[in-house]
């Protein structure tokens, strides 16, 4: 009986850490209330150390990640060269959640930089 309970808990643990989430990364203009954050530059993006590649202006890319806690890192590119200007954010997702990250909002530290949906 104890073994069955332990196995169920292991199952729940594996489910939680292995659950896939879709993270959309937008580099588009975004309006939050009265403020509009404009997309200007191209960014190189990593989600949980997984390289997503370059996200140009008005472009959207998708990252598939597993687990609850995640980290997104974006680095600005000017004239096809990494500027070294990095922005980093951490976020958590519930088992059934997916997210859309707005790079312009993220680099401006807006609270609405991430939109979580079920």
């Amino acid at each position: 009986m104890t073994l069955i309970v332990v196995l169920i808990f292991i199952g729940i643990f594996l489910y939680t850490i292995g659950k896939e989430h879709k993270v959309l990364i937008d580099n588009k203009d975004i309006t939050v209330g009265d403020i509009t954050y404009s997309a200007g530059a191209t960014y190189k993006v990593w989600v949980d150390s997984q390289g997503i590649g370059l996200v140009e202006k008005d472009e959207r890319k998708v990252a598939r990640v597993a687990g609850a806690s995640h980290k997104i890192v974006v680095e600005e590119i000017k004239d096809k060269v990494l500027t070294g200007e990095k922005y980093e954010k951490r976020f958590k997702l519930k088992t059934n959640e997916n997210a859309t990250v707005s790079i312009p909002a993220m680099i401006n530290n807006a609270n609405e930089w991430i939109d979580k949906t079920n």
Binding site: I10, G11, L14, Y15, I17, G18, K19, E20, A66
Partner: protein
Amino acid sequence: MMKKQSLTKTMNPGVHFLINYAVPITFTILVAFAIPVTGLSGEYFVRELMTRLSRNSFLVLALLIPVMAGMGMNFAIVLGAMAGEIGLIFITDWRIIGLPGMLLAMLISTPIAILLGYFAGIVLNRAKGREMVTGFMLGFFMNGIYQLVVLYVMGNIIPISNPLILLPRGYGIRNAINLLGIRQVLDKLIPLEIGGILIPVATLLVIATLCVFFIWFRKTKLGQEIRTVGQDNEVARTAGINVERTRILSIVISTVLACYGQIIFLQNIGTMNTYNSHEQVGVFAIAALLVGGASVAKANIPNVFIGVILFHTMFVVSPRAGKELIGQAQLGEYFRVFVSYGVIAFSLALYAWRRRVEKENERKKAMVLKRGILVK
């Protein structure tokens, strides 16, 4: 031991060796002729062989315990493979990826494999002496139930929500499932590349662990009991061993291992053919073990690796050899299927013939002994 002695006495040691190792010798000769014909590069050949060794060894190892228990080649490992596939269907539906996904598939399929193994054990206990053909038929029977569950129950009674695996009509699973989320997660867990060849270190470690487990298991009480049952059921029963229970346990262990083996196999391939992936599992694993020099009554760990290497070398070279020799790669494909079934048929026939010779020798020996007693 006595059987071995009686056979050895009547035959020249060279002939005895040739008869015992007829299948591996034939395969070695075939492979030795086929490799130069193909013109394959050494790197390609080693890469293919490494992939196939890591992909198939676990499944072949799953066959060892029933042989130890005197139940012959367990064709019912197909049941374990089906259990593994059900686990993979669930994790794909729930979108669980990476190593946790693979482990969860193993966890989900373990109780199914135990149940199927228990069922197979009961059936095989009722068919003592005809375990192999019964196991073979059991695979067909369970395939029907598997298809019923996967084609009609999943999506209808068992909730499946992922449209990528569900048939457009709303129930039933698609013919092919993409296992991209867990593709080669175990193989690439510990990345190591030597000379451009990826070495699946973690998979090889898992296989090595299973080998160590077997060596340890043989020395345990259950291992000893299984060996005793394998030697003689009546002697085992007299020694107080529950023969039926021991035989069921050996099939359960084999089925569970086959279930894990199928998951390891499919994570390497990265796609699952829902209705066919398990069908050939038993035949190919058994053929590989027999090619390695095992017999229906005796199989060990070296037989597994020799068999996988020889049998899969044949798989690698036969389509190319067919193309080079006849101009048709398809012929090589037919050839390897023919070889798989042929090897099994040949090994079984050889085993039956050896058993008949042994029995005849024992009968003659008994007659001589009886005559001697009467003369006295």
